[in-house]
Amino acid sequence: MPIVRALLTRLITTFITLFGAAVIVFVVIRVVPGNPIAMMLPPGATEADIDRLKTLYGLDKSILEQFLIWLGNVAQGDFGTSITLRQPVYDLVIGRLPATLELSIMALLIAVVLGGAAALTATLYRGSRVEGGIDVAGGIALSLPDFLWGLALILLFGVLWPLFHISGRISPSLGFDFSSNFFLFEAIARMRFDVVADLMGHMLMPALALAIPLAAIILQLLKQSLKECMHDDYITLARTKGYSESSIILRDALPNAILPTLTLIGVQFTFLIGGTVIIERLFSYEGLGNMAIDAVINRDLPLIQGIVLVFALLFTLVNLLVDMTYAALNPRLRHA
């Protein structure tokens, strides 16, 4: 069964990648100058106090021992205790992860809708000024990264024309009591549309900043695949049957052209999640990335380790999922 073997190989490489990521995180952080213990102690602490804390955090053992202990704990879901926030890292990360996931998924949806609509429109009006305009807009959208789009959106819709919130995740005045950290999903499930509107008003700008470059990538690839399809025989056949151009593009060309774009979206989704780090900072959005930057600035080693590792896990899982979906969708690989 070649497909089982391919899957197994893929799982093993995923595991090696994750292990490598863990090693690198550990090595990078262990060379941090600046003693984390010193930051935790009040002035006038004795040698004995320092030693006690070192033993508590396992810093008195050899590097290899520390790594093995840390890895063993991580495997059991124990990421240690944050030095600055004095809470279990696992709880902190799990508390913030939903905010980042909601933002990433929202951004992905916006990118797919924007990029897809632009590609379909450009294909419908191919060869005209409309296509030229969409191409130029797509080129500019692709040239500038999410960080710059975020700043531009803050200026446009936060200052010049203040339509949306440009900082935070929810208005504190709302006083809504959430029972989970998936604020948006929960508000939708509980049909509180005033809360949904407030959450969207906060999320839209950062999500759009993340979405614009990806939308441009989707536009370019989907448009190219659609155009190649438009020369195929079945399109000519549909035309002779008298279907309108727009229904031919939607019903006949799109299903045949979409596979490369789907794969690309999967790969690009990890880049988008990576972008949340600085975008959350820019919009003071209380997600994982914003917490990560604080953790780095405060030299909170256990927290940094936990967050970076969770990101690595998320990335490798998304990549694995993409590969498996591709194998399932592509008939050539299915029957290989």
């Binding site: 990521a21 030229g132 191409d135 040239s143 531009a152 200026l155 900072r281 990560a292 030299r299």
Partner: protein, 283 residues
């Protein structure tokens, strides 16, 4: 169809000229920054804080683009910030290119265990959010121009390695490579004299794109206050300051942001234009 093709062919010329023009202007401004800056970029004047640009009411004509909250001249800070942005773009871009492209060439042409090791490292690198990785590195090795450059090289070499590896692999399978080897050329000789020239156009286009990325990474690092020391004016640092006083003094944010926009756009358009220029199908 024919129409769109024509547009594609006409556009690169304009694109290359506009982006080349802005970058030339930027280089000149950066080189002569100490001569043409109207003020010392670090000089504070608390009595002249948050002055608007000249065309607004209440401006001081001595400060063309206004001042920030500490009364420092925005124009002079932008000119000096441009210097740093360009140094980072050139040095970090070139180093990233050299290291990444070499590793990609080795992996793609020699294959075997070298490819296995390099590819595995690329996979591991792809598992980190690049911005977080860069911030972490700077926190570890300390701030400063050198650190920023090192961080960019360390996080971004995979961009070159991935592309060059794939290109070298497809070139290596071609007949002209086989015939060079039949003719008795050494492996290294073939890699350098046959493969490299064919991959070079891609590398040059990528390098231009990378310079734009380097400028952005430097700005992001200055934005979270982890770049070159706070004494040095940087675009990212100005933007971070402008973000906090956006309702009181928009010009502190807008002008450096505009410069950053044009610079990144120019680098990437130049890169795209070069890519099209080298692409035999479009040519």
């Amino acid at each position: 169809m024919r129409d769109a093709r024509g547009q594609i062919r006409r556009l690169p010329g304009l694109r290359l000229w506009l982006s080349g023009g802005w970058l030339t202007f930027l280089v000149l401004a950066a080189v002569f920054a100490p001569l043409i800056s109207p003020h010392d970029p670090l000089a504070q004047d608390l009595f002249a804080g948050r002055l608007p640009p000249v065309w607004e009411q209440g401006a001081d004509p001595a400060y063309l683009l206004g001042t920030d909250s500490l009364g420092r001249d925005v124009l002079s800070r932008m000119l000096h910030g441009g210097r740093l942005a360009l140094i980072v773009a050139l040095v970090a871009g070139t180093l990233t290119c050299l290291i990444g492209a070499s590793l990609g060439l080795i992996a793609g042409y020699y294959r075997g265990w070298a490819d296995l090791v390099i590819s595995r490292f690329i996979d591991i690198w792809m598992a980190f959010p690049p911005v977080l990785f860069a911030i972490l590195l700077i926190a570890v090795i300390g701030t400063g121009l050198m650190s920023v450059i090192i961080a960019i090289v360390v996080i971004d070499w995979t961009r070159f390695a991935r592309v060059v590896r794939a290109e070298a692999m497809s070139q290596g399978a071609m007949d002209y490579v086989a015939s060079a080897q039949v003719a008795g050329r050494s492996r290294l000789g073939t890699a350098l004299s046959e493969i490299l020239p064919n991959v070079l156009p891609t590398i040059v286009a990528l390098l231009t794109l990378e310079m734009g990325i380097a400028v952005i990474v430097e700005a992001i690092l200055s934005f979270v206050n982890l770049s070159i020391s706070t004494d040095q004016p940087t675009w990212g640092g100005m933007i971070a300051e402008g973000r906090t006083s956006i309702y009181q003094a928009w010009w502190v944010l807008v002008f450096p942001l505009f410069a950053l926009f044009l610079t990144v756009l120019s680098f990437s358009q130049l890169g795209e234009g070069l890519k099209d220029h080298f692409d035999p199908v479009l040519r």
